[in-house]
Amino acid sequence: MENLFELFIAASLINNFVFTRYLGLCIFFGVTKKMETAIGMSITFTAVMVISAALSWLVYKAIMIPLNLTFLKIVIFIGIVAGFVQAADTIMRKVSPGLYYKLGIYLALITTNCIILAVPLINAGEGYSFIQSLSFGLGSGVGFALALIIMASIRERLELADIPKSFQGLPIAFIVTGLIALAFLGFSGLITL
Protein backbone atom coordinates (compact mmCIF):
# COMPACT_ATOMS: atom_id res chain seq x y z
CA MET A 1 0.00 0.00 0.00
CA GLU A 2 2.62 2.49 1.10
CA ASN A 3 4.67 1.32 -1.83
CA LEU A 4 1.78 2.18 -4.13
CA PHE A 5 1.56 5.67 -2.68
CA GLU A 6 5.30 6.13 -3.06
CA LEU A 7 5.05 4.91 -6.63
CA PHE A 8 2.35 7.49 -7.26
CA ILE A 9 4.26 10.39 -5.71
CA ALA A 10 7.46 9.37 -7.43
CA ALA A 11 5.77 9.16 -10.79
CA SER A 12 3.91 12.45 -10.43
CA LEU A 13 6.41 14.72 -8.69
CA ILE A 14 9.89 13.33 -8.27
CA ASN A 15 10.23 11.66 -11.64
CA ASN A 16 7.73 13.91 -13.28
CA PHE A 17 7.61 12.86 -16.90
CA VAL A 18 8.18 16.31 -18.30
CA PHE A 19 10.62 17.73 -15.80
CA THR A 20 12.90 14.79 -15.12
CA ARG A 21 12.16 12.18 -17.78
CA TYR A 22 11.91 14.62 -20.69
CA LEU A 23 8.93 12.89 -22.27
CA GLY A 24 5.76 14.21 -23.88
CA LEU A 25 7.48 17.44 -24.72
CA CYS A 26 5.84 17.91 -28.09
CA ILE A 27 2.38 17.88 -26.55
CA PHE A 28 3.62 19.72 -23.49
CA PHE A 29 4.76 22.65 -25.60
CA GLY A 30 1.96 22.21 -28.06
CA VAL A 31 -1.09 22.52 -25.85
CA THR A 32 0.09 24.88 -23.11
CA LYS A 33 -0.40 28.06 -25.08
CA LYS A 34 -3.93 28.34 -23.70
CA MET A 35 -5.32 27.18 -20.39
CA GLU A 36 -8.45 25.62 -21.90
CA THR A 37 -6.50 23.28 -24.14
CA ALA A 38 -4.11 22.43 -21.33
CA ILE A 39 -6.97 21.40 -19.05
CA GLY A 40 -8.73 19.46 -21.79
CA MET A 41 -5.56 17.59 -22.54
CA SER A 42 -4.85 16.89 -18.86
CA ILE A 43 -8.19 15.20 -18.40
CA THR A 44 -8.07 13.17 -21.58
CA PHE A 45 -4.48 12.23 -21.02
CA THR A 46 -4.78 10.98 -17.48
CA ALA A 47 -7.75 8.84 -18.45
CA VAL A 48 -6.11 7.32 -21.51
CA MET A 49 -2.88 6.84 -19.60
CA VAL A 50 -4.43 4.74 -16.85
CA ILE A 51 -6.60 2.65 -19.13
CA SER A 52 -3.95 1.90 -21.72
CA ALA A 53 -1.57 1.02 -18.89
CA ALA A 54 -4.10 -1.53 -17.67
CA LEU A 55 -4.85 -2.94 -21.12
CA SER A 56 -1.23 -3.34 -22.13
CA TRP A 57 -0.42 -4.94 -18.81
CA LEU A 58 -3.07 -7.57 -19.37
CA VAL A 59 -1.99 -8.25 -22.92
CA TYR A 60 1.66 -8.33 -21.96
CA LYS A 61 1.23 -10.75 -19.05
CA ALA A 62 -1.55 -12.85 -20.54
CA ILE A 63 -0.40 -13.20 -24.13
CA MET A 64 3.03 -11.92 -24.95
CA ILE A 65 5.05 -13.47 -22.14
CA PRO A 66 3.49 -16.93 -22.48
CA LEU A 67 4.00 -16.90 -26.24
CA ASN A 68 7.44 -15.37 -25.81
CA LEU A 69 6.47 -12.48 -28.08
CA THR A 70 7.94 -9.77 -25.87
CA PHE A 71 10.07 -8.56 -28.75
CA LEU A 72 6.84 -7.40 -30.41
CA LYS A 73 5.98 -5.14 -27.48
CA ILE A 74 6.53 -1.90 -29.39
CA VAL A 75 4.21 -2.91 -32.20
CA ILE A 76 1.61 -4.35 -29.89
CA PHE A 77 1.58 -1.53 -27.36
CA ILE A 78 1.23 1.12 -29.99
CA GLY A 79 -1.48 -1.00 -31.57
CA ILE A 80 -3.29 -1.18 -28.24
CA VAL A 81 -3.05 2.54 -27.62
CA ALA A 82 -4.12 3.41 -31.15
CA GLY A 83 -6.97 0.93 -31.02
CA PHE A 84 -8.14 2.12 -27.64
CA VAL A 85 -8.00 5.75 -28.66
CA GLN A 86 -10.00 4.92 -31.78
CA ALA A 87 -12.59 3.09 -29.69
CA ALA A 88 -12.77 5.91 -27.16
CA ASP A 89 -13.20 8.31 -30.04
CA THR A 90 -16.17 6.49 -31.53
CA ILE A 91 -17.78 5.72 -28.18
CA MET A 92 -17.46 9.29 -26.97
CA ARG A 93 -18.92 10.61 -30.20
CA LYS A 94 -21.92 8.32 -29.72
CA VAL A 95 -22.41 8.49 -25.97
CA SER A 96 -21.65 12.10 -25.12
CA PRO A 97 -21.16 14.37 -28.13
CA GLY A 98 -20.72 17.30 -25.75
CA LEU A 99 -17.67 15.76 -24.15
CA TYR A 100 -16.44 14.62 -27.53
CA TYR A 101 -16.72 18.16 -28.80
CA LYS A 102 -14.57 19.28 -25.89
CA LEU A 103 -11.93 16.56 -25.79
CA GLY A 104 -12.11 14.84 -29.17
CA ILE A 105 -9.30 16.86 -30.71
CA TYR A 106 -6.88 15.84 -27.97
CA LEU A 107 -7.58 12.15 -28.45
CA ALA A 108 -6.29 12.49 -31.99
CA LEU A 109 -3.07 14.07 -30.73
CA ILE A 110 -2.44 11.47 -28.11
CA THR A 111 -1.76 8.42 -30.27
CA THR A 112 1.62 9.59 -31.45
CA ASN A 113 2.78 10.82 -28.07
CA CYS A 114 5.68 9.18 -26.42
CA ILE A 115 4.47 9.20 -22.82
CA ILE A 116 1.41 7.21 -23.61
CA LEU A 117 3.73 4.57 -24.98
CA ALA A 118 6.40 5.02 -22.35
CA VAL A 119 4.07 4.03 -19.52
CA PRO A 120 3.37 0.49 -20.78
CA LEU A 121 6.98 0.06 -21.80
CA ILE A 122 8.24 1.10 -18.38
CA ASN A 123 5.63 -1.06 -16.66
CA ALA A 124 6.85 -4.00 -18.71
CA GLY A 125 10.50 -3.15 -18.12
CA GLU A 126 10.11 -2.78 -14.35
CA GLY A 127 7.86 -5.82 -14.20
CA TYR A 128 5.25 -3.99 -12.13
CA SER A 129 2.21 -5.81 -10.81
CA PHE A 130 -1.22 -4.86 -12.12
CA ILE A 131 -2.00 -2.50 -9.27
CA GLN A 132 1.46 -1.01 -9.43
CA SER A 133 1.05 -0.43 -13.15
CA LEU A 134 -2.22 1.35 -12.46
CA SER A 135 -0.84 3.63 -9.76
CA PHE A 136 2.22 4.30 -11.92
CA GLY A 137 -0.03 5.16 -14.83
CA LEU A 138 -2.20 7.38 -12.65
CA GLY A 139 0.81 9.07 -11.10
CA SER A 140 2.31 9.75 -14.49
CA GLY A 141 -1.01 11.11 -15.74
CA VAL A 142 -1.50 13.41 -12.77
CA GLY A 143 2.10 14.54 -12.96
CA PHE A 144 1.72 15.37 -16.62
CA ALA A 145 -1.56 17.17 -15.97
CA LEU A 146 0.11 19.20 -13.22
CA ALA A 147 2.93 20.13 -15.57
CA LEU A 148 0.52 21.17 -18.30
CA ILE A 149 -1.53 23.39 -16.02
CA ILE A 150 1.42 25.11 -14.36
CA MET A 151 2.98 25.71 -17.75
CA ALA A 152 -0.23 27.06 -19.25
CA SER A 153 -0.70 29.56 -16.42
CA ILE A 154 2.89 30.71 -16.76
CA ARG A 155 2.73 31.04 -20.52
CA GLU A 156 -0.42 33.13 -20.24
CA ARG A 157 1.62 35.53 -18.13
CA LEU A 158 4.47 35.43 -20.62
CA GLU A 159 1.99 36.68 -23.20
CA LEU A 160 2.16 40.00 -21.37
CA ALA A 161 5.92 40.10 -20.84
CA ASP A 162 8.18 41.77 -23.35
CA ILE A 163 10.55 38.97 -24.20
CA PRO A 164 13.42 39.59 -26.65
CA LYS A 165 12.23 38.83 -30.15
CA SER A 166 14.40 35.81 -30.82
CA PHE A 167 13.37 34.15 -27.57
CA GLN A 168 9.64 34.49 -27.99
CA GLY A 169 7.70 31.27 -28.39
CA LEU A 170 9.49 27.98 -27.92
CA PRO A 171 12.89 29.15 -26.71
CA ILE A 172 11.51 30.94 -23.67
CA ALA A 173 9.11 28.05 -23.12
CA PHE A 174 12.08 25.71 -22.94
CA ILE A 175 13.85 27.99 -20.51
CA VAL A 176 10.78 28.21 -18.30
CA THR A 177 10.57 24.43 -18.35
CA GLY A 178 14.20 24.31 -17.37
CA LEU A 179 13.56 26.64 -14.44
CA ILE A 180 10.55 24.60 -13.32
CA ALA A 181 12.67 21.46 -13.59
CA LEU A 182 15.27 23.20 -11.44
CA ALA A 183 12.62 23.92 -8.84
CA PHE A 184 11.31 20.36 -9.02
CA LEU A 185 14.80 19.11 -8.16
CA GLY A 186 13.74 20.09 -4.66
CA PHE A 187 11.59 16.97 -4.61
CA SER A 188 14.51 14.76 -5.52
CA GLY A 189 15.56 12.34 -2.84
CA LEU A 190 12.16 12.36 -1.16
CA ILE A 191 11.66 8.74 -2.11
CA THR A 192 14.01 5.98 -3.19
CA LEU A 193 12.67 3.66 -5.83
Partner: protein, 353 residues
Protein backbone atom coordinates in the same frame (compact mmCIF):
# COMPACT_ATOMS: atom_id res chain seq x y z
CA UNK B 1 -12.62 87.08 -26.15
CA UNK B 2 -9.46 88.86 -27.33
CA UNK B 3 -9.72 91.13 -24.31
CA UNK B 4 -9.16 88.15 -22.08
CA UNK B 5 -6.42 86.62 -24.20
CA UNK B 6 -4.07 89.54 -23.46
CA UNK B 7 -4.13 89.02 -19.74
CA UNK B 8 -3.09 85.35 -19.99
CA UNK B 9 -0.03 84.84 -17.90
CA UNK B 10 1.18 81.34 -18.70
CA UNK B 11 2.54 80.22 -22.05
CA UNK B 12 2.12 76.48 -22.31
CA UNK B 13 -0.58 74.63 -20.39
CA UNK B 14 0.39 71.06 -19.57
CA UNK B 15 -2.46 68.72 -20.40
CA UNK B 16 -2.39 65.23 -18.88
CA UNK B 17 -4.91 62.75 -17.59
CA UNK B 18 -6.18 62.54 -14.05
CA UNK B 19 -5.15 61.99 -11.39
CA UNK B 20 -3.00 65.08 -11.29
CA UNK B 21 -1.35 64.31 -7.98
CA UNK B 22 0.61 61.17 -7.19
CA UNK B 23 2.16 59.48 -4.20
CA UNK B 24 5.89 60.15 -3.93
CA UNK B 25 6.66 56.41 -3.61
CA UNK B 26 8.75 55.13 -6.52
CA UNK B 27 10.14 51.79 -7.57
CA UNK B 28 13.73 52.79 -6.89
CA UNK B 29 12.80 54.11 -3.46
CA UNK B 30 11.25 50.75 -2.62
CA UNK B 31 14.14 48.72 -3.97
CA UNK B 32 16.80 50.79 -2.25
CA UNK B 33 14.88 50.68 1.01
CA UNK B 34 14.86 46.90 0.81
CA UNK B 35 18.60 47.05 0.18
CA UNK B 36 18.98 49.19 3.30
CA UNK B 37 16.82 46.87 5.34
CA UNK B 38 19.23 44.03 4.50
CA UNK B 39 22.19 46.01 5.77
CA UNK B 40 22.07 44.83 9.40
CA UNK B 41 22.04 41.18 8.39
CA UNK B 42 24.86 41.77 5.94
CA UNK B 43 26.97 43.56 8.55
CA UNK B 44 26.50 40.67 10.95
CA UNK B 45 27.52 38.32 8.17
CA UNK B 46 30.66 40.34 7.54
CA UNK B 47 31.29 40.40 11.29
CA UNK B 48 31.11 36.63 11.63
CA UNK B 49 32.58 35.45 8.32
CA UNK B 50 35.11 38.19 7.74
CA UNK B 51 36.31 39.92 4.57
CA UNK B 52 35.50 36.89 2.40
CA UNK B 53 31.82 37.51 3.05
CA UNK B 54 32.17 41.08 1.86
CA UNK B 55 34.12 40.06 -1.23
CA UNK B 56 31.63 37.38 -2.27
CA UNK B 57 28.65 39.71 -1.86
CA UNK B 58 30.38 42.58 -3.60
CA UNK B 59 31.26 40.29 -6.47
CA UNK B 60 27.62 39.27 -6.86
CA UNK B 61 26.38 42.85 -6.74
CA UNK B 62 28.89 44.08 -9.27
CA UNK B 63 28.27 41.23 -11.68
CA UNK B 64 24.49 41.56 -11.37
CA UNK B 65 24.44 45.28 -12.03
CA UNK B 66 26.96 44.93 -14.83
CA UNK B 67 25.05 42.14 -16.59
CA UNK B 68 21.82 44.10 -16.28
CA UNK B 69 23.56 47.07 -17.85
CA UNK B 70 25.09 45.06 -20.68
CA UNK B 71 21.89 43.18 -21.55
CA UNK B 72 19.85 46.37 -21.61
CA UNK B 73 22.45 47.99 -23.84
CA UNK B 74 22.52 44.95 -26.10
CA UNK B 75 18.73 44.91 -26.40
CA UNK B 76 18.71 48.69 -26.90
CA UNK B 77 16.46 49.11 -23.88
CA UNK B 78 16.43 51.92 -21.35
CA UNK B 79 19.15 51.19 -18.79
CA UNK B 80 17.53 50.91 -15.37
CA UNK B 81 20.35 49.81 -13.11
CA UNK B 82 19.71 52.83 -10.92
CA UNK B 83 16.38 51.41 -9.75
CA UNK B 84 18.28 49.14 -7.42
CA UNK B 85 16.55 45.90 -8.30
CA UNK B 86 19.62 44.40 -9.93
CA UNK B 87 21.66 45.56 -6.95
CA UNK B 88 19.14 43.92 -4.66
CA UNK B 89 19.25 40.69 -6.63
CA UNK B 90 23.01 40.70 -6.37
CA UNK B 91 22.95 41.50 -2.68
CA UNK B 92 20.44 38.77 -1.90
CA UNK B 93 22.29 36.23 -4.00
CA UNK B 94 25.52 37.09 -2.23
CA UNK B 95 23.85 36.82 1.17
CA UNK B 96 22.63 33.37 0.12
CA UNK B 97 26.08 32.00 -0.61
CA UNK B 98 28.70 30.55 1.73
CA UNK B 99 31.60 32.91 2.35
CA UNK B 100 33.96 30.02 1.63
CA UNK B 101 33.42 30.65 -2.07
CA UNK B 102 36.08 33.33 -1.91
CA UNK B 103 38.99 30.95 -2.31
CA UNK B 104 41.83 30.66 -4.79
CA UNK B 105 42.66 27.06 -4.13
CA UNK B 106 40.44 25.33 -5.08
CA UNK B 107 39.48 28.20 -7.36
CA UNK B 108 35.79 29.00 -6.78
CA UNK B 109 35.66 32.75 -7.35
CA UNK B 110 33.94 32.28 -10.68
CA UNK B 111 30.97 30.69 -8.92
CA UNK B 112 29.33 33.88 -7.59
CA UNK B 113 29.85 35.45 -11.00
CA UNK B 114 28.09 32.62 -12.83
CA UNK B 115 25.27 32.73 -10.30
CA UNK B 116 24.71 36.45 -10.80
CA UNK B 117 24.74 36.10 -14.57
CA UNK B 118 22.18 33.30 -14.46
CA UNK B 119 20.05 35.34 -12.05
CA UNK B 120 20.01 38.53 -14.08
CA UNK B 121 20.26 37.36 -17.67
CA UNK B 122 18.45 34.04 -17.81
CA UNK B 123 15.94 34.53 -15.03
CA UNK B 124 15.16 38.24 -15.34
CA UNK B 125 16.17 39.90 -18.59
CA UNK B 126 15.24 37.05 -20.92
CA UNK B 127 11.73 37.49 -19.56
CA UNK B 128 11.70 41.22 -20.19
CA UNK B 129 13.34 42.58 -17.07
CA UNK B 130 11.94 44.00 -13.86
CA UNK B 131 8.37 42.94 -13.31
CA UNK B 132 8.14 40.18 -15.87
CA UNK B 133 10.19 37.34 -14.45
CA UNK B 134 8.34 34.30 -13.15
CA UNK B 135 11.04 33.06 -10.80
CA UNK B 136 12.98 34.75 -8.07
CA UNK B 137 16.26 35.61 -9.79
CA UNK B 138 18.47 35.40 -6.73
CA UNK B 139 17.10 32.01 -5.77
CA UNK B 140 17.39 30.59 -9.27
CA UNK B 141 20.96 31.83 -9.24
CA UNK B 142 21.59 29.99 -6.02
CA UNK B 143 19.80 26.79 -7.06
CA UNK B 144 21.73 26.77 -10.31
CA UNK B 145 24.99 27.02 -8.39
CA UNK B 146 23.99 24.41 -5.82
CA UNK B 147 23.35 21.85 -8.53
CA UNK B 148 26.36 22.85 -10.61
CA UNK B 149 28.88 23.05 -7.80
CA UNK B 150 27.45 20.86 -5.03
CA UNK B 151 30.76 20.54 -3.22
CA UNK B 152 31.83 24.18 -3.17
CA UNK B 153 28.30 25.23 -2.30
CA UNK B 154 28.16 23.06 0.82
CA UNK B 155 31.43 24.06 2.44
CA UNK B 156 30.51 26.09 5.50
CA UNK B 157 33.07 27.97 7.54
CA UNK B 158 33.07 28.28 11.32
CA UNK B 159 31.89 31.78 12.26
CA UNK B 160 34.59 33.68 14.10
CA UNK B 161 33.79 37.06 15.55
CA UNK B 162 35.21 40.48 14.72
CA UNK B 163 35.58 40.77 10.96
CA UNK B 164 38.64 38.49 10.81
CA UNK B 165 38.54 34.81 9.80
CA UNK B 166 40.61 34.69 6.65
CA UNK B 167 40.77 30.91 6.58
CA UNK B 168 38.52 29.59 9.31
CA UNK B 169 37.97 25.85 9.57
CA UNK B 170 34.95 24.26 7.97
CA UNK B 171 32.01 22.73 9.80
CA UNK B 172 28.41 21.68 9.31
CA UNK B 173 25.33 23.88 9.49
CA UNK B 174 22.89 23.40 12.36
CA UNK B 175 20.35 21.94 9.96
CA UNK B 176 23.02 19.66 8.53
CA UNK B 177 23.79 18.35 11.97
CA UNK B 178 20.11 18.11 12.82
CA UNK B 179 19.52 16.04 9.70
CA UNK B 180 22.61 13.84 9.89
CA UNK B 181 23.09 13.37 13.64
CA UNK B 182 19.88 14.56 15.26
CA UNK B 183 18.80 17.10 17.86
CA UNK B 184 20.84 15.87 20.82
CA UNK B 185 24.06 16.10 18.84
CA UNK B 186 23.12 19.64 17.82
CA UNK B 187 22.50 20.70 21.42
CA UNK B 188 25.69 18.98 22.45
CA UNK B 189 27.64 20.94 19.85
CA UNK B 190 26.30 24.24 21.16
CA UNK B 191 26.52 23.32 24.83
CA UNK B 192 22.94 23.67 26.03
CA UNK B 193 19.62 24.52 24.49
CA UNK B 194 19.50 28.12 25.71
CA UNK B 195 22.96 28.79 24.37
CA UNK B 196 21.88 27.20 21.10
CA UNK B 197 18.92 29.56 20.82
CA UNK B 198 20.93 32.64 21.72
CA UNK B 199 23.64 31.76 19.22
CA UNK B 200 21.04 31.23 16.51
CA UNK B 201 19.41 34.56 17.35
CA UNK B 202 22.74 36.32 17.26
CA UNK B 203 23.85 34.51 14.14
CA UNK B 204 26.94 32.87 15.55
CA UNK B 205 26.62 29.72 13.45
CA UNK B 206 27.69 28.27 10.12
CA UNK B 207 25.55 29.15 7.15
CA UNK B 208 25.11 31.46 4.21
CA UNK B 209 26.53 34.94 4.67
CA UNK B 210 23.29 36.79 5.24
CA UNK B 211 21.02 34.14 6.68
CA UNK B 212 22.53 33.56 10.07
CA UNK B 213 21.68 36.53 12.26
CA UNK B 214 18.00 36.24 13.20
CA UNK B 215 17.95 39.52 15.12
CA UNK B 216 19.44 41.55 12.30
CA UNK B 217 17.00 40.03 9.83
CA UNK B 218 14.06 40.75 12.12
CA UNK B 219 15.16 44.37 12.46
CA UNK B 220 15.23 44.73 8.69
CA UNK B 221 11.88 42.97 8.37
CA UNK B 222 10.33 45.24 10.99
CA UNK B 223 11.49 48.23 8.97
CA UNK B 224 9.91 46.87 5.80
CA UNK B 225 6.66 46.05 7.55
CA UNK B 226 6.57 49.47 9.18
CA UNK B 227 7.10 51.20 5.86
CA UNK B 228 4.45 48.91 4.34
CA UNK B 229 6.90 47.69 1.69
CA UNK B 230 5.88 44.19 2.62
CA UNK B 231 2.74 43.00 4.37
CA UNK B 232 2.40 40.32 7.01
CA UNK B 233 0.52 37.89 4.78
CA UNK B 234 3.35 35.90 3.24
CA UNK B 235 5.89 35.89 6.10
CA UNK B 236 3.39 35.01 8.78
CA UNK B 237 1.65 32.25 6.87
CA UNK B 238 5.05 30.94 5.77
CA UNK B 239 6.61 30.89 9.24
CA UNK B 240 3.38 29.83 10.94
CA UNK B 241 2.94 26.79 8.73
CA UNK B 242 6.60 25.83 9.04
CA UNK B 243 6.54 26.15 12.83
CA UNK B 244 3.37 24.10 13.11
CA UNK B 245 4.70 21.29 10.92
CA UNK B 246 8.08 21.38 12.66
CA UNK B 247 6.31 20.96 15.99
CA UNK B 248 4.11 18.11 14.78
CA UNK B 249 6.50 16.09 12.65
CA UNK B 250 9.90 17.42 13.67
CA UNK B 251 10.38 15.18 16.66
CA UNK B 252 12.44 11.99 16.71
CA UNK B 253 12.77 9.42 19.46
CA UNK B 254 16.44 9.82 20.46
CA UNK B 255 16.91 6.06 20.92
CA UNK B 256 14.88 4.37 18.18
CA UNK B 257 15.12 7.37 15.84
CA UNK B 258 11.43 6.84 15.11
CA UNK B 259 9.09 9.71 14.33
CA UNK B 260 7.63 11.18 17.51
CA UNK B 261 4.53 13.37 17.05
CA UNK B 262 4.21 16.85 18.64
CA UNK B 263 7.76 16.70 19.89
CA UNK B 264 9.54 18.84 17.34
CA UNK B 265 11.35 22.06 18.13
CA UNK B 266 9.87 24.80 15.95
CA UNK B 267 12.19 27.49 17.27
CA UNK B 268 15.31 25.81 15.95
CA UNK B 269 13.69 25.37 12.56
CA UNK B 270 12.54 28.99 12.43
CA UNK B 271 15.90 30.42 13.45
CA UNK B 272 18.14 28.20 11.35
CA UNK B 273 18.71 27.85 7.66
CA UNK B 274 17.37 30.53 5.36
CA UNK B 275 13.92 30.55 6.93
CA UNK B 276 13.79 34.20 8.04
CA UNK B 277 15.70 35.61 5.10
CA UNK B 278 13.45 33.63 2.78
CA UNK B 279 10.16 34.42 4.48
CA UNK B 280 10.67 38.17 4.82
CA UNK B 281 12.88 39.13 1.92
CA UNK B 282 12.57 36.53 -0.80
CA UNK B 283 9.13 34.98 -0.72
CA UNK B 284 7.84 38.54 -0.61
CA UNK B 285 9.34 39.56 -3.92
CA UNK B 286 6.39 41.34 -5.52
CA UNK B 287 7.19 40.15 -8.98
CA UNK B 288 7.23 36.47 -8.22
CA UNK B 289 4.50 36.10 -5.62
CA UNK B 290 0.72 36.35 -6.06
CA UNK B 291 -0.53 39.91 -5.85
CA UNK B 292 -3.89 39.36 -4.16
CA UNK B 293 -3.56 39.05 -0.39
CA UNK B 294 -5.68 35.91 -0.13
CA UNK B 295 -3.47 34.30 -2.72
CA UNK B 296 -0.39 35.40 -0.81
CA UNK B 297 -1.55 33.56 2.29
CA UNK B 298 -1.95 30.38 0.27
CA UNK B 299 1.47 31.04 -1.24
CA UNK B 300 2.98 31.39 2.23
CA UNK B 301 1.37 28.24 3.50
CA UNK B 302 2.69 26.39 0.47
CA UNK B 303 6.20 27.69 1.08
CA UNK B 304 6.10 26.66 4.73
CA UNK B 305 4.75 23.20 3.99
CA UNK B 306 7.24 22.46 1.19
CA UNK B 307 10.13 23.76 3.26
CA UNK B 308 9.35 21.37 6.08
CA UNK B 309 8.67 18.52 3.69
CA UNK B 310 12.13 18.88 2.17
CA UNK B 311 13.84 19.52 5.50
CA UNK B 312 12.27 16.54 7.25
CA UNK B 313 11.83 14.02 4.47
CA UNK B 314 13.82 15.23 1.52
CA UNK B 315 17.40 14.35 0.69
CA UNK B 316 18.56 17.83 1.44
CA UNK B 317 19.05 19.57 4.78
CA UNK B 318 17.65 22.96 3.71
CA UNK B 319 14.39 23.45 1.83
CA UNK B 320 13.55 27.15 1.83
CA UNK B 321 15.08 27.86 -1.55
CA UNK B 322 13.38 25.00 -3.37
CA UNK B 323 10.11 25.66 -1.55
CA UNK B 324 9.96 29.28 -2.71
CA UNK B 325 10.97 28.36 -6.24
CA UNK B 326 8.30 25.66 -6.35
CA UNK B 327 5.68 28.12 -5.18
CA UNK B 328 6.91 30.59 -7.79
CA UNK B 329 5.75 28.01 -10.35
CA UNK B 330 2.28 28.15 -8.84
CA UNK B 331 2.04 31.92 -8.35
CA UNK B 332 0.53 32.61 -11.79
CA UNK B 333 -2.03 29.85 -11.21
CA UNK B 334 -2.94 31.28 -7.80
CA UNK B 335 -3.22 34.78 -9.24
CA UNK B 336 -5.48 33.43 -11.92
CA UNK B 337 -7.82 31.62 -9.54
CA UNK B 338 -7.85 34.01 -6.59
CA UNK B 339 -9.15 37.39 -7.72
CA UNK B 340 -9.93 40.29 -5.45
CA UNK B 341 -13.58 40.63 -4.38
CA UNK B 342 -15.37 43.15 -6.56
CA UNK B 343 -17.33 45.80 -4.64
CA UNK B 344 -21.00 44.96 -4.40
CA UNK B 345 -20.43 41.48 -5.78
CA UNK B 346 -22.76 38.95 -4.21
CA UNK B 347 -22.38 35.11 -4.01
CA UNK B 348 -21.88 33.06 -7.19
CA UNK B 349 -18.13 33.47 -7.22
CA UNK B 350 -16.52 34.49 -10.44
CA UNK B 351 -14.45 31.73 -12.00
CA UNK B 352 -11.53 32.88 -14.10
CA UNK B 353 -12.12 31.50 -17.59
Amino acid sequence: MEAIKKEETIRELIVSVSPHVKDEETVSRIMWSVNISLLPAFVMGAYFFGPKAVFVTALCIITSVLSEYLVQKALKKKVTISDGSAFLTGLLLGMNLPSSLWSIKPFTIHIPIIGSIVAIIITKQLFGGLGYNIFNPALIGRAFLLISFPKAMTIWTEPSAAFVALDAKTTATPLGILKEEGLNKLIEVFGDKLHLYSQLLLGHRAGSIGETSAIALLIGAAFLLYRRYITWHIPISFLGTAALLAWIFGGKDPHTGKLLFFAGDPIIHLLSGGMLLGAFFMATDYVTCPSVRRGQILFGIGCGALTMLIRLKGGYPEGVMFAILLMNCFAPLIDRKMRSKVFGFVKKKETGK
